[in-house]
């Protein structure tokens, strides 16, 4: 076992397990000839459990394999664990989505797992090339997933839009990376920041570096759907099958944030902080402006939606804006607040989408009107939904409130009081449309229609609800995890 290459393989055990699971799911689906796809779902869950096991094994471990291509660290681990958890929830949603066929959907699981492999590589590398590869693996799987309902026009349209926007923005991003490569002679982020060429270049003429940064950020902005790169989001989220929307809105978006945080941390927070420090502030200001536009636009657009699914899509755009408030601080504390908020975002959005999966199955529609009076028919899941709505608005005692509090603190501390004010007023706007859901559920006359119970789905949503409130009351574990994870990004650790 002295071969360093083989030893290195151990550090990507989670990725290997995930790949094997994905392939097994594909083969298994072929063997059972598409009958009873639910079994493929169980197989996927087992694979995800094994992956999680290996991830826990890597807790606190830091290693770099394949000549620094893959970095295993706590930061990547944070996002990977959340991805696994989110994916498990999504798989469960697929299995319990009443609008979904029970057979012939084995590829579903394969594509989801494939997307997860993309995420894993995206968040655990300092190598921009591998990051783009992960990005593309995630995107390709997502395109197919968005168009999974081939017969459905909306689904097909969603997929098409997604491909065009995605292809374009990846192109822009790769171009930016090529410029950065030209300036530094390396594609390794950790080396890039201290590259003497880059420092000299920025010192004499910062424009090429500025263009490269803006182009790369545009690629990220597309993935995390920041305005003005968000146009694909509502259509894709609405057209895609709801579990896929859940995956895109939660896991895929958070992964985009993961990669973005690593990129910015390596360039502007680590050893590069001093060399490129002045430039970091300008990038921060640009991000701050994007955040302000994004949350305002997302919230005001959400006000007008009649479809719950589309409303949640716009709300997720607004939430991306809140997270960027933390990033725009360009401090480690700001980044860890952003990570805490992302963790909060996992819980409350997974839950809200689970509620949507359930009610689409009951009423066959995703409009807010179709929920009228259903709160009395399915009280448990509806009450839990109110908890998610409260958390999304950012009211205590929930995880969303604490996340927003942390973002506000860091923003004010970094002199972004104007941005914090905009974010605060935005949460008032958001209350209005979140309450529309609560209003439809409970303030209308009890519905005629009965809601068939779905104990497994309700159970899962309840667990997410308890986490949403529980982590709001007892914040220490999640917060220390987010902070610790950030400390272990390679390159930031020493600063």
């Amino acid at each position: 076992m002295s071969n360093p290459y083989l030893e290195g393989l151990a550090s990507i055990a989670p990725e290997i397990v995930l790949t094997v699971t994905a392939l097994a799911a594909l083969v298994f689906d072929l063997v059972v000839k598409g009958r009873e796809s639910v079994r493929v779902g169980y197989l996927s869950l087992a694979g995800l459990a094994a992956t999680a096991w290996f991830l826990f094994g890597q807790w606190g471990v830091e290693s770099h394999m394949a000549y620094g291509m893959v970095s295993v660290d706590q930061f990547g681990n944070f996002f990977k664990l959340f991805t696994v958890a989110a994916l498990a929830v999504v798989v469960l949603y697929v299995m319990h989505d009443r609008r979904e066929r029970t057979s012939g959907v084995g590829e579903y699981y394969f594509l989801l797992l494939g997307a997860a492999i993309g995420i894993f590589f995206m968040v655990s590398t300092n190598n921009l090339l591998l990051m783009v590869l992960g990005f593309e693996l995630l995107s390709l799987s997502s395109y197919s997933l968005a168009g999974f309902h081939k017969g459905n026009r909306k689904s097909a349209e969603a997929s098409m839009k997604y491909v065009i926007f995605g292809g374009l923005s990846t192109g822009i991003m790769v171009y930016g990376i090529s410029l950065l490569y030209g300036l530094t002679g390396t594609i390794d982020l950790s080396l890039m920041a201290t590259s003497p060429n880059l420092v000299a270049q920025v010192g004499s003429n910062p424009i090429p570096f500025g263009i490269a940064t803006v182009l790369i950020l545009a690629g990220f902005a597309y993935k995390i759907s920041l305005a003005p790169f968000h146009f694909w989001t509502p259509d894709v989220y609405e057209g895609a099958p709801t579990p896929v929307t859940t995956f895109l809105a939660v896991a895929s978006k958070a992964a985009g944030f993961g990669a973005l945080l690593r990129f910015l941390a390596a360039l502007f927070l680590g050893q590069g902080a001093t060399a490129l420090g002045g430039y970091g502030e300008r990038v921060a200001l640009m991000l701050g402006l994007l955040a302000a536009i994004t949350m305002t636009l997302g919230n005001f657009a959400a006000l007008r939606q009649s479809s719950l699914k589309r409303m949640l899509a716009y709300s997720s755009i607004a939430h991306a804006g809140y997270v960027v408030v933390g990033i725009a601080c360009m401090t480690r504390e700001g980044f860890s607040a952003a990570m805490y908020y992302l963790a909060a975002y996992y819980f409350m959005n997974l839950g809200a989408f689970g509620f949507l999966v359930y009610f689409e199955g009951v009423t066959g529609s995703d409009t807010i009107d179709s929920l009228k009076g259903m709160g009395f028919k399915a009280p448990l899941i509806s009450i839990i939904m109110v908890a998610f709505l409260v958390s999304l608005t950012g009211l205590p005692p929930t995880v969303g409130f604490y996340g927003k509090y942390l973002l506000f603190v860091e923003g004010v501390d970094e002199g972004l009081l104007w941005l914090v004010m905009i974010a605060a007023l935005n949460s008032v706007v958001s209350l209005f449309y979140y309450l529309r859901v609560a209003k439809a559920l409970f303030l209308e006359k009890p519905a005629e229609q009965d809601a068939a119970p779905a104990p497994v789905l309700t159970g899962f949503v309840t667990v997410l609800g308890l986490a949403t409130v529980g982590f709001g009351l007892y914040v220490a574990p999640l917060e220390s995890w987010a902070t610790r994870s950030l400390d272990l990004i390679r390159g930031v650790a020493g600063s």
């Binding site: 009395f376 005692p397 009081l417 609560a438 220490a476």
Partner: protein, 521 residues
């Protein structure tokens, strides 16, 4: 147990709520029983706390405590870490400002449950929400940690939204969301101010923040650009952000427009709680967490606050005069009566401040009585049009007698509680160092005239005059309704004759507060 009494009082309703949630919704009687028991025990504890547990300290004793680092001289303090990483503590305690309001809350909520016994629709949810509301209110009154204070402040919103939105009148959805949006708009501003205060001082403890503020160490020095925002310096905007957050709750003109809507649509017991205690949270918040944290800005803007107070007094009463809806009239009268609170506080004299605190309590009892009175007639006639009755005094003499007492208490008749506190605020305002306050007092007497006018005019239209044949067989006020009103009317009389039963409790703390605020001046 005795040292943890505040925690028990605050969270007993939560236990009741948990029990209710576990009960099947068909066993309505058991659910009502649990709600009654939970609020009753809380009330007993609250009453014990007020009359026996709370130790009346003299000003000298409080000042001695202040020398020892306890600026408020709070009692029954419990303090331990809650969220270590940002220094949030579970820090509770009461002083002379809050003890009476805690007691009033426990009484009001018990009466609220009794008054709700007739509500049949989705009873399980109703009582659960009512108990959750009580936890939020009590939590705000006992919190001495600003973060904890904010958490409880927000916890109140959701139950109130549903209580108005599900069990309210025809325009309940509009009223409920308006209430929620207004309050949230105020409280996000508060949150920004709280965040800024925390960053500047490194603590959430209200007593500690007060100490820092009065020694001039809370000026935004540790923030970028000294915490200036849009040309305003740190203390000024912190003060106004906090003030607006509380002013919306009071409600001070021009932030009052949610109140008439909320009151008109809310079911009677909820109106009673809303007027009786929720509005006091605004005034209490100003005294606890706004003025002492930005004393300079308070002194600078005192006259502006006084003007707002007078506008509220006069405008509220004048608009009430024009109402034909009984409940809307009472709602506007609340705007007017709460204006005295602001005027008294802004005057910053001993009488003014004490009158303001007293007025909060007295308005709590008298407005609760008025809303219960409206509820009685609404339950029978199913409308509240003041012009649609007439001659009820002959049909419901006992009801008439109680109403007269309630009206006179609200009107400020000598011998009843409202008189004492209103007179104190006006005299206090007249003594204010800033002589412009004398003009304000003069103007606010208009409010007194209008108040007398709308109450008597309402009395005339509803109770006097020709008997309305439509209500020939109307049922006289029943025992449950009398039982609900009796405590409030009794308190109105009691504190009208023996105001020292409240003042002795409040006096040292109000004095202490004045001394605190005087340090800068």
């Amino acid at each position: 147990m005795q040292s943890q009494i505040l925690t028990w009082i605050t969270f007993l309703p939560l236990i009741g709520m948990a029990v209710i949630l576990l009960m099947p919704k068909t066993s309505m009687n058991a659910i009502k029983g649990v709600s009654l028991a939970a609020t009753f025990v809380t009330m007993v504890l609250g009453t014990w706390l007020y009359f026996s547990g709370f130790e009346q300290r003299s000003l000298a004793e409080i000042q001695a405590a202040r020398a020892g680092g306890d600026i408020l001289g709070a009692q029954f303090v419990q303090r331990f870490d809650w969220i270590d990483s940002i220094g949030v503590q579970y820090y509770i305690g009461i002083d002379g400002l809050s003890v009476a309001l805690v007691w009033l809350t426990t009484v009001l909520l018990f009466v609220g449950v009794v008054a709700s016994l007739g509500i049949e629709k989705a009873g399980k949810a109703y009582y659960a929400l009512l108990l959750m509301l009580e936890v939020g209110i009590l939590g705000v009154f006992v919190s001495l940690d600003l973060f904890l204070f904010y958490v409880f402040w927000e916890v109140m919103l959701l139950p109130m939204y549903f209580l108005i939105g599900i069990w309210g009148g025809p325009r309940r959805e509009y009223a409920a969301i308006k209430f929620f949006l207004y309050t949230l708009a105020g409280s996000v501003l508060m949150l920004v101010a709280i965040v800024a205060l925390r960053l500047d001082s490194g603590t959430f403890s209200i007593p500690r923040l007060t100490e820092l503020a009065i020694s001039g160490k809370l000026m935004g020095a540790s923030l970028p650009a000294h915490g200036a925002l849009l040309g305003m310096d740190f203390t000024t905007w912190v003060f106004w952000f906090l003030f607006v957050g509380f002013a919306i709750k009071v409600p001070v003109w021009p932030f009052h427009t949610w109140l008439p809507d909320a009151h008109v649509e809310a079911p009677t017991p909820i109106s009673v709680i809303l007027a009786g205690i929720l509005l006091k949270l605004g005034g209490y918040g100003m005294l606890r967490a706004c003025f002492p944290l930005a004393p300079d800005a308070f002194h600078e803007s005192a006259f502006a606050l006084g003007v707002l107070g007078v506008i509220s007094i006069v405008y509220g009463a004048f608009v009430a005069l024009g109402q034909s809806d009984f409940k809307k009239m009472v709602a506007y009268s609340s705007v007017s009566h709460m204006g005295y609170v602001l005027l008294g506080m802004a005057a910053f004299t001993e009488w003014g401040m004490e009158g303001a605190v007293l007025q909060m309590f007295n308005h709590g009892t008298s407005s609760a009585a008025l809303f219960l009175i409206v509820g009685v007639v609404y339950d029978r006639a199913h409308h509240r049009d003041l012009n649609g009755f007439g001659g009820l005094s002959q049909l419901m003499p006992r009801y008439w007698a109680l109403t007269t007492l309630g009206f006179f208490a609200a009107l400020g008749l000598p011998g009843l509680a409202g008189f004492v506190s209103e007179a104190m605020t006006l005299v206090g305002a007249f003594q204010a160092a800033d002589t412009r306050f004398q003009v304000l007092v003069l103007l606010s007497t208009l409010g007194i005239v209008f108040t007398a006018a709308f109450l008597l005019y309402a009395m005339q239209r509803v109770f006097l005059g020709k008997k309305n044949a439509k209500y020939e067989g109307i049922e006289e006020i029943n025992a449950r309704e009398v039982f609900c009103q009796a405590p409030f009317l009794f308190l109105c009389v009691l504190f009208g004759i023996l105001p020292y039963l409240l003042l002795d409790w409040m006096h040292p703390s109000v004095q202490n507060l004045i001394n605190i605020l005087k340090v800068q001046g």
